[in-house]
């Protein structure tokens, strides 16, 4: 009797896991196919430079002496009109030379208005909450301290806000340290698929893009209307995406607003980063799904897409549960084997490897980006798949344990930086393109640069 029950439960689990993963596989294949098929992706590049509202750039920093000068120099070199630009580097209790570097820039450039935090709750969301109270821009642009924006990125990020329905915009992050380790090489594939593939595809199809908290912008009025940043959230960016969506605001994706980032080079750092994302994301799922389903602002397909996005980390435990059930069936002599279920499970699971990016999406993104060599790394992504599956399951186990037993979860964790200190802001040629010509308020004509 017990064995029959076990066999029955195992079949139900496998069947459910296959159905669940199949839905995700269909979604990913559809997104990949549609990205390849659309001739003119949705963008507002033709209007870049014609919409210049007042902008505040927020850069949370905690012990960022290695990278602080690079981002500040990059922002000084930006082609955005200085009269409409305010930069707030948020020094959150740094114990290194971060404050000294920021103050040095602030003395030279009056639009850099530092905020030195000495008290209050720590972490990026809390720092953003405090900085937003001082910000004077209509649009708030966010960068993490290790990011180096190109000269035109701010203009590109603000252009979608000419559409009154846009509450946030998201640019694209491109890993710089692709050869730093095998992991960073594999993560570059994942990022490529996630931005060039999935984000652009979802935006083309009329779904809201996901705000990533860096290389992104948010309309100050929209932020205020949803009650500002959620300082309790581990992923304040995902939280904001769905808070905005529930109020009818959309997030636009700007594929051309590219910015270098540094991806984790070691599995330990990656595991902690992933753990934070999984916890924050799943927290948003539980907080928002009832309201999302009831929302009068969203169409049926938008609701389905939002649910898929929020529940994406469930694919990992579903797969593991399916594997366990398959093994049980294999070792129970009474079980009548139906091999297609475990085979389907293995196939679908493998399709969803990495951080939910499929073969097709990575292939499509590599093709569009022209990075063919990197796509040859795909087979090695199997390692990433197993590591991710383990890290995601572990993070979800902790999340639900804490949820049930009410114990405290993981705190905010800052991703470890490996970039060497240049100190002069010259990373990635940041200072090389500085305009020699007098800065024009329109900046639409060709200006002489040192490179010319």
């Amino acid at each position: 009797m017990a064995v029959t029950l076990l066999i029955g439960i195992s079949y139900v689990i496998i069947g459910f896991a296959v159905a669940f993963l199949l839905l995700y596989a269909i979604r990913h294949y559809y997104l990949g196919y549609s990205r390849l098929r659309i001739e003119h992706p949705k963008d507002s590049m033709e209007l870049v430079g014609f919409y210049m509202p007042r902008v505040t750039v927020l850069i949370p920093m905690h012990n960022e002496e290695r990278v602080a000068a690079d981002i500040l120099k990059a922002l000084v070199d930006s082609d955005y009109d200085w009269e409409k630009l305010e930069v707030i580097p948020i020094n959150d209790r740094s114990e290194d030379k971060t404050q000294e570097i920021i103050d040095g820039f602030s003395k030279r450039y009056p639009f850099i208005q530092p905020l030195h935090r000495t008290g209050g709750p720590s972490g990026k969301p809390a720092a953003l909450v405090e900085a937003c109270e001082r910000a004077t821009g209509e649009i708030l642009v966010m960068f993490d301290a290790d990011y180096v924006p190109g000269r035109a990125v701010i203009k590109m990020l603000v252009t979608p806000f000419a559409d009154p329905e846009v509450g946030a915009s998201m640019g694209r992050v491109v890993p710089h340290n692709i050869g730093g380790s095998l992991l960073s090489g594999l993560l570059s594939l994942e990022r490529s698929a996630g931005y060039q593939g999935v984000q652009q595809s979802r935006f083309n199809l009329g779904f809201t893009a996901q705000f990533g908290g860096t290389v992104g912008a948010v309309r100050a009025a929209a932020l205020e209307s949803v009650g500002g940043w959620n300082p309790q959230s581990l992923t304040e960016d995902t939280d904001l995406t769905f808070a905005l969506l529930l109020n009818g605001w959309k997030t636009a994706y700007v594929n051309r607003a590219e910015c270098y980032e540094e991806v984790p080079q070691t599995w330990a750092v990656r595991r902690r980063q992933l753990s934070r994302w999984v916890t924050g994301h799943t927290e948003c799922l539980h907080n928002y799904w009832p309201d999302l389903m009831r929302s009068r602002f969203l169409t049926r397909w938008e609701k389905v897409d939002a649910l898929f996005l929020l529940a994406m980390y469930w694919t990992a435990p579903m797969l593991v549960l399916g594997w366990v059930a398959s093994l049980l069936l294999f070792f129970i002599p009474e079980a009548h084997q139906t091999p297609w279920l475990p085979v389907a499970l293995a196939f679908l699971g493998y399709q969803l490897f990495s951080n939910q990016a499929t073969f097709l999406e990575i292939g499509v993104a590599s093709m569009l980006d022209g990075t063919r060599i990197r796509s040859l790394l795909l087979p090695l992504n199997l390692l990433n798949f197993f590591a991710n599956t383990g890290a995601i399951c572990n993070a979800l186990r902790k999340f639900y344990w804490n949820r049930v037993w009410g114990s405290g979860g993981d705190g905010w964790y800052k991703t470890h930086r490996t970039r060497g200190a240049s100190g002069d802001g010259s990373a990635f040629g940041g200072g090389a393109g500085a305009a020699v010509a007098t800065r024009s308020t329109t900046g639409l004509y060709h200006a002489r640069t040192q490179r010319d």
Binding site: E46, F50, P164, E165, G185, N247, I373, R374, Y445
Partner: protein, 375 residues
């Protein structure tokens, strides 16, 4: 035996799978990405300026050809040659296969064919039905009727795109562009872009508004009037409002807050839109209206005669700028972009940019349209 062969085949495929990946990894190892151009800045006249800059370098660095004769300097550039002359006038039907640099004025007759780029430092007049590759001019440029430019045209002074002329890519000028009926281009950018008849009297519409619809009108108990149903209005917060359905107003509109319409939107003549509007469907703005905000439409945008706009127009499909439309504002130029065809009627003046993913076409205003607008 079959099993052994299959095993061998499987192992070979498995090995290849990972050996190729390993080889790729060895190529990447230790490298940093150089995908992004950190100094990239979007410039509307990029093609013209970039060509000028390259040409200056080529003339300075390339070897001078031995067959250079008096009055004509020739430079070898791989398989191509660059001809540099002081000034020139080409007869009708002349074909030119080399890059041409004219240091004075230049003119060509009807039906010429220039296979490579042309750079003119003086003024330039291109004869009718001429085929060009691309054109950078430091003076004025006149593209004759029916001529065809396969790529871009750029001038520092006034640029005329003649009747039925087609420019496959961008047209830019630092002074002004006149875009005559039948002309087509992918985009036009200048401090002033105008179509024929810009100096004629503007259409006069003297109808005093009988009543004005003030939006947003948040009184939910108010009765539906002027085509507007208060029950369909929702606040998104941040002083932005959403209207769930089509909105076709029958009284002139005074819009004071950003507005999103989940359907088609139209307002009658002499409306005043002080904030941004988005419609999931089409937007039609009545004659003699003033649009101070930006307009975004999922489908078409139509600005009826004599409408002023002061921001951005973004249409997901076609766009029509009717006779007498003006686009201008302080400090920044305006811009209009359509994913479909953009049709520009007579007497339209835009200080900024007109662009389309398909083509911008200038048309003569049909008489029927004018009569409709007057009525």
């Amino acid at each position: 035996m079959a099993f052994l062969l299959f095993s061998l085949f499987f192992c070979a495929v498995f090995y290849l799978h990972f050996s190729m990946a390993h080889r790729a990894w060895r190529k990447i190892k230790g490298r940093e990405s150089a995908e992004l151009d950190m100094g990239y800045v979007r410039m509307e006249d990029y093609f013209g300026q970039s060509f000028r800059a390259k040409l200056a370098v080529w003339i300075k660095t390339l070897p001078r050809a031995t067959n250079s004769s008096t009055g004509l300097r020739v430079f070898d550039k791989g398989n191509e040659r660059i001809f540099v002359a002081g000034g020139a006038q080409y007869p009708a039907g002349r074909k030119e296969r080399e890059i041409l640099v004219i240091e004075g004025d230049f003119a060509c007759g009807r039906d010429c064919d220039f296979e490579k780029e042309v750079m003119v430092k003086g003024n330039c007049a291109i004869g009718p039905d001429t085929q060009m590759q691309a054109l950078a001019v430091d003076g004025t440029l006149h593209l004759g009727q029916g001529s065809r430019v396969r790529r871009w045209a750029d001038a520092v002074k006034h640029l005329t795109v003649g009747q039925d002329t087609v420019v496959a890519s961008r047209v830019t000028s630092r002074t002004s562009i006149e875009f005559l009926p039948g002309a087509q281009a992918l985009s036009l950018f200048a401090p002033e872009v105008f179509t024929e008849g810009r100096h004629e009297n503007e259409l006069q519409i003297e109808v005093a508004p009988a009543s004005v619809a003030q939006l947003p009108h948040l009184d939910k108990d108010a009765k539906a009037m002027h085509g507007y149903d208060p029950a369909k209005l929702f606040s998104m917060g941040g002083n932005t409002f959403l209207y769930n359905g089509d909105l076709h107003l029958t009284a002139p509109l005074h819009l004071r807050a950003p507005f999103v319409v989940r359907g088609n939107f139209s307002c009658p003549k002499e409306s005043l839109l002080e904030a941004d509007v988005k419609a999931y469907g089409s937007i039609a703005i009545g004659a003699a209206s003033v649009v101070k905000g930006n307009l975004t439409a999922g489908r078409d945008i139509i600005l009826k005669p004599n409408t002023y706009f002061q921001g951005l127009l973004h249409a997901g499909a076609a766009m029509r700028l009717s006779r007498g439309v003006r686009g201008l504002r302080d400090k920044l130029p305006v811009a209009a972009y359509a994913a479909g065809v953009m049709t520009v009627e007579s007497n339209v003046v835009v200080n900024g940019k007109l662009a389309s993913a398909q083509r911008v076409v200038a048309v003569s205003t049909p008489v029927a349209w004018l009569e409709g607008a007057r009525a």
